[in-house]
Symmetry: C2
């Protein structure tokens, strides 16, 4: 028995596409519905109440679209609103982007883990508390790096601007002796190489999208949710259609997408 | 006869504070109500419909607060929604940030004017059409520079990040022979010195806040709206209270402000 209902994925903007791309790669026979809340992006600077209000609405929309699973492809949404999202999702499977990563790193050999993320994620201390739930001996240092999202969104990857911003952020005193770094924002895998360059191989960069999608596959198999669509569809909804998103979405995800504005 | 009703000022975030600061400096006996729509910032990436919806609501709120004048201290709002704002304001005096600047530069000796602004402002071509209304012989080149707002908001002024971003933007081919530049976003006066440094004095940077507030004074005098409060109050409303705004507001405007969250 195969279940060909779509997998729902959402984020405030393009960041979640790094997760959606990984779903497409590892699950090439699944239909995907992506919701980008571009009208309210970025979430990273907003309050818990505001993020929760928006993410509940999106979750309900995805449930209405008959999604079999919902991937919260946004760290700010996960860290601030995951309980509200799970409640809004009812019986639908919900995968977030923090818990699978926390579980994975907690059981490997690490001494001191750095996390870079948006302000909303860092203020919630979600990585710290999730990781310590699995292994309370680990040291977790969180740092807000709010300029990285706009740098990525505005096409300043691989320029002196991104290089200088990363050098400034990653020279954070408390990062001196970390052995592992988590890119705690779904945008950041897009500058993974540059992060690596700053650390010159000294620090291991965790591959969050891979870990999250492996968790999704694991849970879908357990619940008999695997699909087998020969020609899967990729439907994108945006709360505010902008050329910028369309361009970036095609760059990151590929050209085979259908984009539509959807009031939130 | 003096009119001590407050002057309303609004923006999506902290940018409008450069205008509010100039009002406070040149009109030290006026009460000010500032509305920062931080829940929906930045406006610069949003669509005309979305910006119009938010700005109409804010205008109606300021009218309800009994404001005698409303300063639209946001270029994205002016360029996309000024007609809707004027309609929502009814009889209340409305001053925008583009028209006074366009009028002023159009009647001075310029050959070729560069404008840097957000995407929303550039896409509207507001500067071009306003300036050409007054002097159709001027050449106006507009360039979207969307990374500058987050650079300013995140404290990267006067760093290699701002320097490299400005050098990248201002090396725009069509800017080669401009003699004047307009900082077409209310955030940008905060990096005026750095813009000057890139141009090394070759290009005149227009002082937009000064021009806008002179227009405000001119119109208030004409309509008998001048106040004489000996101890004016500065009331700030935010649609989403964040520490970041509070900090920046105090840095830019001074410590004597009262901040309050207000649902939009």
């Amino acid at each position: 028995m195969n279940d060909n209902r779509p997998i729902g994925v959402f984020d405030s903007g393009v960041g979640g596409l790094t997760v959606a791309r990984e779903i497409k790669r590892l699950l090439p026979h699944e239909n995907i519905i992506y919701f980008g809340d571009t009208k309210h992006l970025p979430y990273g600077d907003k309050s818990k109440e505001t993020i929760t209000k928006f993410t509940k609405k999106i979750t309900k929309f995805l449930v209405k679209q008959n999604c079999k699973a919902i991937v919260v492809a946004c760290n700010s949404a996960t860290s601030n609103s995951i309980e509200a999202i799970r409640e809004a999702a009812g019986d639908t499977l919900v995968i977030d982007v923090i818990n699978p990563v926390a579980k994975k790193v907690a059981y490997e050999l690490h001494q001191k883990i750095g996390v870079i993320a948006t302000k909303a994620t860092v203020n919630s201390h979600a990585y710290q508390s999730y990781i310590k739930k699995y292994n309370r001996h680990l040291k977790v240092i969180e740092l807000a790096t709010p300029l990285l999202v706009p740098i990525i969104e505005e096409g300043f990857r691989n320029t002196p601007v991104s290089k200088n911003a990363l050098e400034s952020y990653l020279s954070y005193k408390k990062f001196e002796d970390i052995d592992t770094i988590i890119l705690g924002c779904t945008h950041y895998p897009l500058i993974e190489k540059e992060v690596n360059a700053v650390f010159q191989g000294r620090v291991k960069v965790v591959d969050s999208p891979l870990i999250v999608v492996n968790e999704l596959i694991h849970e879908m198999e357990k619940d008999n949710l695997m699909g087998n669509s020969p020609n899967p569809t990729y439907q994108f909804y945006l709360s505010d259609y902008t050329e910028n998103f369309a361009k970036l979405a095609k760059q990151i995800f590929g050209k085979s997408i259908s984009l539509e504005q959807k009031k939130l």
